[in-house]
């Protein structure tokens, strides 16, 4: 009996010990952050940068700036270098923390207590850092040590948008240093298309040239450590968003990641081998007298003429792209319809004027193919504007408003006077056009028409009756 009792005592105690629990290890998840701290900025970035006068200066007053992060190190193109921007400018902050994007991602508002930090420049690029780096000549500012970042930089709200400032290449100035800018209608230089952004294998940075259609250029620099370094540059034209920096006198742009490059439009100009060039660049090839196009180029545009209503010579088509329009005169009649997108090979074709109107002449019909369809929105303008900028408007679609057509009550066929309040011109309709015998309205109308030229003056040609509203 006593033994049995022992067993039970032993058993019960054992169970008691086994089931008891003493050490707690459940942890609360912390709440999320993303609120601005109770810190009031008292200085703009421009004011802070103004402290720098050519030599390193330590901020010794309680300057507080705040801004939105416009570049972080997520893609690896920026390394330990945070770019902060407010409405007055941008600044580069050097912090000794890799992968800092996990705390200071693009779009986050941050506050920087600058007292104690150093302001300097590395090859003219203004930087804010934690100490002086004497290993460069002249000395520059060095990183804020990882341990001390929390003493200077304070985190605020997320997902703040910074509108990139739209500039032309020639407009970029030192005031835009470390700011997010946007270039429109630019492209990689011919030799730099379809190239890697940088050398990802050997981890070397590379420069690529960006140019606009006027031939102005600027460098796009990419780090070999960027995760997109081995991606290929596009061959199209379009928009580039980047942070502007300098290296000495060299202006250079850094993208944050590959999404900053959107270039899918046709390229600006010739020189690209058998590539498609802008119509405006073909127009610009005309030297003043008949010439033959020597380069292997094509143009691509939307047909804005309407052969089916016969208000155009059966061999002619007018096409337009985003840069301009031109008349292509084929060797024989064609059926390219209004709204079709066609591509025309211009190699060895004649560029000439017929009674003052520029055209690519006598093009073999086989040189043109339909590649798609589209539409061109007519540009609303005035007769005076068109007359003053004939080359820009010629062979493009425009809309003239509140136009009176005289003499009153006549039919379209022939040359009619039009007046829109700015100037007079001619609305020309071929007598063979389907609507040549229709009577035009006697009230003022809006007219959509192709800008043309005859002899010494601008004239307009409608495509069909819908062009008069």
């Amino acid at each position: 009996m006593i033994k049995t009792n022992h067993y039970f005592i032993a058993l019960l105690l054992l169970i008691g010990i086994t089931l008891g629990s003493c050490v707690k290890n459940d942890f609360d998840n912390p709440p999320s952050d993303g609120q601005d701290p109770a810190i009031t900025p008292n200085t703009t970035i421009a004011q802070l940068k103004a402290l720098y006068n050519g030599t390193i200066v330590q901020v010794n007053t309680d300057m507080i700036i705040s801004g939105i992060v416009v570049a972080d190190d997520k893609s690896g193109n920026f390394y330990k270098s945070l770019v902060l921007q407010d409405s007055t400018g941008g600044i580069n902050i050097r912090i000794d923390q890799s992968d800092f994007y996990t705390s200071f991602p693009i779009g986050r508002k941050i506050f920087v207590k600058c007292n104690g930090l150093y302001l300097g420049a590395y090859n003219e690029l203004i930087q804010l850092g934690g100490s002086i780096d004497n290993s460069t000549s002249p000395a520059s500012v060095s990183y804020i040590p990882s341990t001390l970042i929390g003493n200077y930089i304070f985190k605020g709200v997320y997902n703040q948008e910074v509108k990139a400032k739209v500039l032309g290449i020639n407009d970029i100035s030192n005031a835009h240093q470390n700011m997010l800018i946007e270039l429109q209608n630019v492209e990689f230089a011919d030799a730099d298309t379809n190239q890697s952004y940088a050398d990802a294998i050997n981890l070397l940075s590379a420069n690529r040239t960006i140019k606009d259609c006027s031939g102005n250029t600027i460098i796009l620099r990419t780090s070999g450590y960027a995760n997109f370094a081995s991606s290929l540059t596009p061959s199209g034209k379009g928009t580039l968003r980047a942070v502007y920096q300098v290296f000495g006198t060299t202006k250079q742009l850094y993208i944050r990641d590959i999404n900053d490059v959107v270039m899918s439009d046709p390229r600006c100009s010739s020189g690209g081998g058998s590539g498609i060039v802008d119509i405006i660049s073909v127009r610009n090839l005309y030297p003043g007298s008949t010439t033959t196009i020597q380069s292997n180029i094509k143009i691509k545009g939307i047909v804005i003429s309407d052969y089916s209503n016969a208000n155009i010579d059966a061999r002619n088509v007018v096409i337009q792209d985003s840069t301009g329009g031109i008349v292509v005169r084929f060797a024989s009649g064609h059926t390219f319809a209004l709204g079709e997108e066609i591509e025309v090979n211009l190699y060895n074709q004649e560029l000439s004027k017929f009674s003052g109107l520029l055209q690519v002449n006598n093009v073999p019909n086989a040189n043109a193919i339909v590649t798609g369809s589209g539409s061109i929105t007519p540009v609303s303008t005035t007769i005076a504007q068109v007359v003053a900028n004939q080359n820009q408007y010629e062979s493009t679609l425009v809309t003239l408003s509140n136009v009176s057509i005289t003499p009153t009550g006549a039919t379209y066929g022939g040359s009619r006077n039009i007046f829109d309040g700015s100037a007079t011109s001619i609305l020309y309709t071929r007598t063979g056009a389907n609507f040549a015998n229709n009577v035009y309205p006697s009230t003022n109308v809006n007219i959509t028409a192709i800008v043309s030229y005859f002899g010494t003056a601008t004239q307009f040609t409608m495509r069909n009756l819908s062009d008069v509203q």
Partner: protein
């Protein structure tokens, strides 16, 4: 489950058995296990009868008129551990032979007050620990080695753990992958692990051939447990703060049944090291059935599920900044609570079936089948394209700053902000909260996009699953003065290694990708896949990821041994042959090692041997001269052969066995009041191979150094003296003076887990004459023991440790490391020299008082004792005691600054105590 186990045992206990009856004589001799002296006045009784005699001055006893049948003989003495044995009385005269009794107090108290301050977690980590708790010998020398010196991470003769072979109920505790003994399998079960035998050095044992450094064998069968109910409670400030333990032993009943139960709980909200904690249970159940005189069948089940937050060593700079040498980088605050990132969780239940067959009075067969299956996990932070979260990362420290003003600012910042010296858990969550991402082609399904919070930080578990089965057969027979021992053993081990997501830290998922490969192989979209068979796998908590492989190992061995005792000489000779084979089996197809990671590797097989022989010359009954020799081959370890088992099947070229030669010899004096030991030894290890892996922050990967052709010499002297004085005083003095060093220049091949590129091939490592980092190579203790006749004693030890060398980084001992540095310049020497830390002095005290309650409370029917034990280590609170350390395996090849990746040090605990109260009813 645990409860069911206990209940089924209870049911087993209620089974009836049989009894027999007739008449006979039993005789025998009693000696002190330690001194060999006869034991007088011991009481010898037959249980459940009034037959009792006492032993005479020669230790001889004889009991007469014993009824035939199964009887239990009980031998007890105030100073000795009670001995019991069941005998089937069938003939007229039974001679029990010589029975050696264990001295009670020293043995027991040392077990009940664990003197070692080495925590369980250290034991798991260290390649080296020879567990102090294992050896059975009680002489002054082994007692010092096992207890007094263990807090200083002293390693007997500087050997690795694999040189000691340890058994538990016939199961070899060795993890074949690492060669280390898995002592933690039975942690917390001290009460039932007392019955042990063992040897030190090359001395022979009868349960196996042992190792170069010795061996031990624990017998935890129910029949070996004391008949008692015991409950104890301990408080301590070491690894755990509290320990509750309850043990019951039934003793063998008249029907041949014995059973034992033990359970304990150990816990600490915070252990000695800040941020560490402990939560461990232990349970044990054993049942024996003796069938007739000859057969004993035993079943034992035990498990010690535990969870503890670990502490890890750091650099001196962090110790100085935090103002304590016990700084622990593993923890940090989460919402104001301390959380440890490095948590070990294990559950490794073991089951044993033992069969002992007494073939004849002088011949025994012992058979054992055992199984150990379970899981051990160690957690750690993992991160993907995010800053290193470890607070003692070298870039965060003042020493990383070159500008002294900035360095002092960083210093002040860290000094004044505890939170910044620790992990910032809240920050890890905040990063994860804002890491919205979309994974394309998730889970390998084209067009499948998974969006959500992609973890940048997680807590991962590095899991090891054990599956071990062993069989062991040992036969012992004594014929006159010759004892034969022979044995066969079979070990099968299938380990699995993989990582598991433990905690997503607030994120929605993690992705099974290799960040480093993403950067390193920009042109290979496959490279970043940890498993090409399951690309872009979305991971939730509990999912496996990263590496995943099995180690499949087999070992078979046979040994034969002869021991012979003559009037003037004792000698023995033993030989063992063994066969080891293993292969790796990859369960994932790594994107970098497409052809070499998935599936089975080649199988490596090694046939090895060990021979041992020894001779003792007995000058007289007290003075002995002895010498032992051994020669053995060691199969290279799995973890050394596969250079990067985590990722691939690639192995070192032509793995070969290493050789060990060892000789020891000396003089022993065993007089009643004076004992002396003076032993010298020399051991040569030749042609070893070792693979060191370490985490490289910049490569974000494990880098593996495979060293071949390592030769080591270990030699030294072991001196001990113990003198009994009048009035209960005993003085002891022990010195272990060793010299362990490299005897060769190994060649290194360096590879990365994350890259197939071989960073360095057959590079010469200039290790020759550098010391082996094996704890103190010199250890001394002087002890005073006072034993009162009133059942208490106290022991004070004064210890000194010296010749402690820091583990050397092979990368620093290469030509490349000193390239272009002037020969023998200060800089040259700074890179190549090996650090020796200061010798240290410590004082330990322990005492015990045993109070018999029956004297006061007459109503108590059973013998009831309360025993108080107190052990205080490092009484002088020496907190500057570096017990070992290691140079980080990284080297700054650009600036050649050896301090950039500074040495990490382990410090011995300052003053620490263990106080235990035991209530025992016999």
């Amino acid at each position: 489950m645990k409860i069911i186990k206990c209940i089924s045992l209870l049911i087993l206990l209620l089974f009836p058995t049989w009894i027999l009856a007739q008449n006979s004589k039993i005789s025998g001799n009693l000696i002190d296990n330690e001194s060999g002296q006869a034991i007088q006045n011991a009481s010898i009784q037959i249980v459940n009868s009034n037959l009792t005699v006492s032993s005479n001055e020669k230790g001889f006893f004889e009991l007469s008129n014993i009824p035939n049948g199964e009887q239990v003989i009980l031998i007890s003495h105030a100073d000795y551990v009670t001995f019991s044995r069941s005998i089937l009385v069938s003939k007229e005269q039974h001679f029990l032979g010589t029975v050696a009794l264990l001295l009670k107090e020293i043995g027991q108290v040392q077990e009940e007050v664990p003197l070692s301050t080495i925590s369980e977690s250290d034991i798991r980590e260290s390649a080296a620990i020879v567990s102090g708790a294992l050896s059975a010998s009680r002489d002054a020398f082994t007692s010092a080695v096992n207890f007094t010196f263990s807090g200083a991470r002293f390693r007997a003769r500087g050997y690795d753990g694999r040189e000691q072979v340890n058994y538990l109920n016939g199961m070899q505790l060795t993890d074949m992958v690492s060669g280390r003994s898995m002592f933690y399998v039975y942690s917390g079960l001290n009460d039932v692990m007392r019955a042990r035998e063992g040897s030190y050095g090359l001395d022979p044992v009868t349960y196996g051939i042992g190792g170069i450094g010795g061996s031990s064998n624990i017998d935890s069968r129910a029949v070996r447990q004391r008949k008692q109910l015991q409950a104890s409670y301990a408080v301590s400030n070491r690894t755990y703060e509290n320990r509750l333990m309850l043990t019951y032993g039934s003793g063998m009943n008249s029907k041949g049944w014995a059973f034992a139960l033990s359970g304990s709980k150990r816990w600490a909200d915070e252990g000695y090291a800040p941020g560490s904690y402990y939560d461990g249970y232990s349970m044990f159940a054993a049942v024996d059935k003796q069938i007739g005189l000859q057969h004993t069948i035993s079943f034992i089940a035990l498990a010690s599920p535990s969870e503890f937050g670990k502490s890890s060593p750091s650099v001196q700079e962090m110790y100085d900044l935090s103002g304590t040498n016990y700084y622990n980088p593993n923890w940090g605050y989460q919402q104001g609570e301390k959380r440890n990132a490095v948590v070990n969780k294990s559950f490794l239940p073991a089951f044993f079936l033992n069969y002992e067959y007494r073939v004849e009075d002088n011949a025994t067969l012992f058979a054992s089948v055992s199984m150990l299956n379970g899981t051990s996990k160690v957690s750690a932070l993992d991160w993907y394209n995010a800053p290193d979260p470890r607070p003692d990362y070298y870039r965060n420290l003042p020493s990383f700053q070159t500008d002294p003003i900035i360095a002092s600012m960083v210093y002040q910042q860290l000094k004044n902000n505890e939170a910044q010296r620790q992990i910032n858990w809240d920050q890890l969550y905040l990063v994860n909260y804002n890491s919205y991402a979309s994974i394309q082609n998730a889970n390998g399904i084209a067009g499948n996009t998974v969006s959500g919070l992609r973890a940048r930080y997680i807590v991962e578990d590095r899991v090891t699953e054990y599956q071990t089965t062993q069989g062991n057969l040992v036969y012992n027979k004594t014929l006159k003065n010759i004892q034969y021992s022979a044995g066969l053993s079979m070990q099968m081990q299938n380990n699995s290694y993989y990582k598991e997501v433990n905690d997503l830290l607030g994120a929605d998922f993690y992705v099974d990708l290799n960040q480093y490969a993403e950067q390193d192989f920009p042109d290979d979209p496959d490279a970043l896949q940890n498993d090409l068979n399951n690309p872009n796998r979305i991971l939730k908590e509990g999912d496996r990821f990263g590496y995943d492989y099995d180690a499949v190992l087999r070992n078979g061995a046979a040994f034969f041994q002869l021991q012979s005792q003559w009037e003037k000489f004792d000698w023995f000779a033993a030989v063992q042959l063994n066969q080891t084979s293993y292969y790796r089996n990859g369960n994932v197809k790594n994107g970098i090692f497409k052809d070499d990671s998935f599936g089975k590797s080649k199988t490596y097989s090694f046939t090895g041997y060990m021979v041992k022989t020894g001779l003792t010359y007995k000058i007289n009954g007290r003075n002995y001269l002895f010498t032992n020799l051994a020669n053995a081959s060691h199969a290279p370890l799995f973890e050394d052969v596969f250079i990067s088992a985590r990722t691939r099947n690639q192995s070192i070229e032509n793995p070969e066995q290493s050789k060990v030669f060892s000789v020891e010899g000396g003089y022993l004096l065993k007089a009643p009041s004076l004992k002396l030991r003076a032993v010298g030894y020399f051991t040569a290890f030749r042609d070893e191979v070792s693979t060191l892996s370490f985490y490289h922050e910049d490569f974000r990967s494990f880098v593996n150094y495979t060293l071949k052709g390592i030769d080591r010499n270990h030699s030294g002297m072991e001196l001990a003296a113990e003198k009994k004085l009048y009035g209960g005083f005993t003085l002891s003095a022990v010195a272990a003076i060793g010299q362990y060093y490299y005897q060769s220049r190994p060649s290194a091949t360096v590879t990365q887990d994350n890259n197939s590129e071989v960073l360095s091939n057959n590079e010469t490592i200039y290790f020759k004459n550098l010391r082996i980092a094996a704890g103190p190579q010199q250890a001394y203790t002087f002890g005073v023991n006072y034993r009162s006749k009133k059942f208490w004693f106290v022991n004070v030890n004064f210890n000194y440790f010296d010749a402690i060398y820091i583990n050397t980084n092979p990368a620093r001992r290469t030509q490349a490391a000193v390239d272009l540095i002037p020969y023998s310049s200060a800089e040259w020497n700074r890179i190549l020299s090996q650090e020796k830390v200061d010798g240290q002095f410590t004082v330990d005290v322990f005492g015990s008082w045993s109070w018999r309650l029956n004297n006061k409370f007459k109503a108590l029917k059973r013998n009831t004792f309360v025993v108080f034990n107190l052990g205080i280590n490092n009484l002088l609170n020496n907190q500057d005691f570096i017990t070992n350390g290691y140079e980080q395996l990284r080297f700054d090849f650009s600036d050649r600054n050896p301090d950039k990746f500074d040495t990490k040090y382990f410090y011995a605990y300052g003053i620490n105590y263990f106080f235990n109260i035991t209530l025992r009813m016999n």
